[in-house]
Amino acid sequence: MSIEVRHLSKMFGSHPALCDVSLTVNAGELLALLGPSGSGKTTLLRVIAGLEAPDAGTVHFDGDDATERSATDRRVGFVFQHYALFRHMTVFENVAFGLRVRPRLQRPMEAEIRRRVNELLALVQLDYLGDRYPSQLSGGQRQRVALARALAVEPRVLLLDEPFGALDAKVRQELRRWLRRLHSQIHVTSVFVTHDQEEALELADRVVIMNEGRIEQDASPEAVVEHPASSFVMTFVGEVNIFRGRVQSGKAVLGSLAVDYPGYTSPEERDAVGYARPHELELSRDDAADGLPATVRDVRMSGALVKVELVDRSDSVIQVELGRDQFEALRPVRGETVFVKPRRLRIFTSH
């Protein structure tokens, strides 16, 4: 089932949570809504679920307008950030809830409910915990119960609000891989909200980056990293080095770095910022390549990479990541002055 939202707007008091947001989620896709807190991503998810009414705009499931339909009738699976499990019910009853509240005619027989619930508990690998209460479970187990409960109603779409936010790093890693596998197994259209870029990039087919109630970029994980649409996306996704300067007549001058910038040909000078990822910078000892002189402050081994931290003349910190081979070829030492040259520089001019 596909989801489409058109021109959604929502205010909370005088604070705009969503400003004219349009988005399509294709059937079977796993999509991440990524953004800092307060960017409107959770509001968007809640509007899709019907838990929040938009001030303007519409929500469509497979082309049908569902804007006026209540959360009760939308048949979406929703996993809450803090799981919202029913405290007074066992794990089994939590998962069975969605089946038990169906109108009498659509309600499965008790034996069928048992079979379905046990099947789901097996799917989330918790079949041995059916008679426990939520308070007796660990965070990761609660998370999986919440997921099984959401799947029990055979939802047309699955919405997850910060699904791994409250878990520790190791459990988060495991659950992430597990959710990826689960999604390829059941293939339900899924949207999850996260502020963790690594999570979004690793898990999702497509990443939608939000900021201040607007969509900044809607693209594949590779495209988000390689071709960020705005300076916000550039700084929000991944580590980045920032070089401030000016552009004029097809040239950009950022400190002592000078590069061609054919995107701006006007002779009028304009402020610009250049961004380069740590792995897109090169170091060399000769000045021939008009690099930026900087002093090595720290060298650290990080797995297959070597992270070099430098300080330029104006005391800005520059992070560089070198492969082992590159590092061996140069062997920079602490206190030494070397020249930094970007292999790739993305320049955004200010408006």
């Binding site: 679920a49 009738d73 048949r75 809450f80 919202a84 499990l85 029913f86 509240v101 409960r149």
Partner: protein, 285 residues
């Protein structure tokens, strides 16, 4: 030279012990004061009720209890509770739901208004109904035309009882509902549960012990209410006297033993309520 004053070696265990427990004298003193207070103000009056009630033996005791006026008073008291408590249960749940789950204009005003009966003297509460529905009252003539009697009749007693006891359930339910938040209700809705199903299956089970506790307190107040009921009752013996009023009538007629016998019924009702309350509290934990 050694310093003149040498600090005693620090014993952590001793220091911790000292911090946590007061000297035995203070401890027993405090317990003693509390016990003496309880004996003086609770145990002695309570025993006195039963001793006075049985002063002339069991014969007169049961005669006083089974007296038609006393039985009528008991019936009226129970009837009042049977109407007032469910009414306040519904009101308390609605108010609690509205205050805890929604943000709306006048929310804090409603919260304050719920406490009104606690702040107002019960006699004033009764008087309000007399001024409203009495013969010279605001809607009195209108009621008189239609032959509806509220003041000096059972409806007035019920109204006054509802008024003085309505904060109890709402007060118990609101904090629990507020602490619970709305996430579970939202989860239920997304899973396809309607409003009633959400209330019965999710909201109510989470607050049931608070509700029960509120119902118990409310019942106790209704059974024992004197001031407000006294103002609206008119003291028509066997018709508009509740148990507390009946006790007063007997006492004013110098029938002390009978007064205490009827009072002992109220005392027993209070004790039963307390036992249920204790059980409810223990189960809730």
């Amino acid at each position: 030279m050694m310093p003149a004053v040498q600090a005693a070696p620090f014993d952590a265990r001793e220091a911790r012990g000292r911090r946590l427990t007061e000297p035995a004298l203070v401890r027993w003193g405090l317990v003693g004061v509390a016990l003496a207070f309880l004996v003086l103000f609770l145990a002695i009056p309570l025993t006195a009720v039963f001793i006075e009630a049985l002063a002339n033996g069991f014969g007169p005791y049961f005669r006083a209890i089974l007296d038609p006026d006393a039985v009528a008073a008991l019936k009226l008291t129970v009837l009042t509770a049977v109407i007032a408590v469910p009414a306040n249960l519904v009101f308390g749940l609605c108010a609690g739901w509205a205050i805890a789950k929604f943000q709306f204009r006048g929310r804090s005003l409603l919260t304050t208004l719920i406490d009104l009966p606690f702040a107002v003297s019960p006699v004033i509460s009764g008087l309000v109904f007399v001024l409203l529905a009495g013969r010279q009252g605001f809607i009195g003539p209108w009621l008189a035309e239609r032959d509806i009697q509220i003041i000096f009749a059972v409806p007035g007693i019920v109204l006054a009882s509802v008024f003085v006891s309505f904060p109890f359930i709402a007060r118990e339910v609101i904090p629990i509902m507020e602490a619970g938040g709305t996430h579970e209700e939202e989860a239920a809705r997304v899973l396809g549960a309607g409003g009633w199903q959400t209330f019965w299956r999710v909201t109510l089970p989470n607050i049931k012990w608070g509700v029960l506790y509120g119902v118990i307190l409310c019942t106790a107040r209704v059974l024992g209410e004197f001031g407000a009921v006294s103002v609206v009752s008119g003291h028509i013996r066997g018709v508009t006297t509740t148990l507390p009023l009946h006790v007063e009538i007997l006492y004013n007629e110098y029938r002390f033993q009978a007064a205490f016998a009827v009072a002992s019924i109220l005392t027993c009702l209070a004790l039963v309520t307390l036992v249920i309350k204790t059980v409810a509290e223990r189960r809730a934990r």
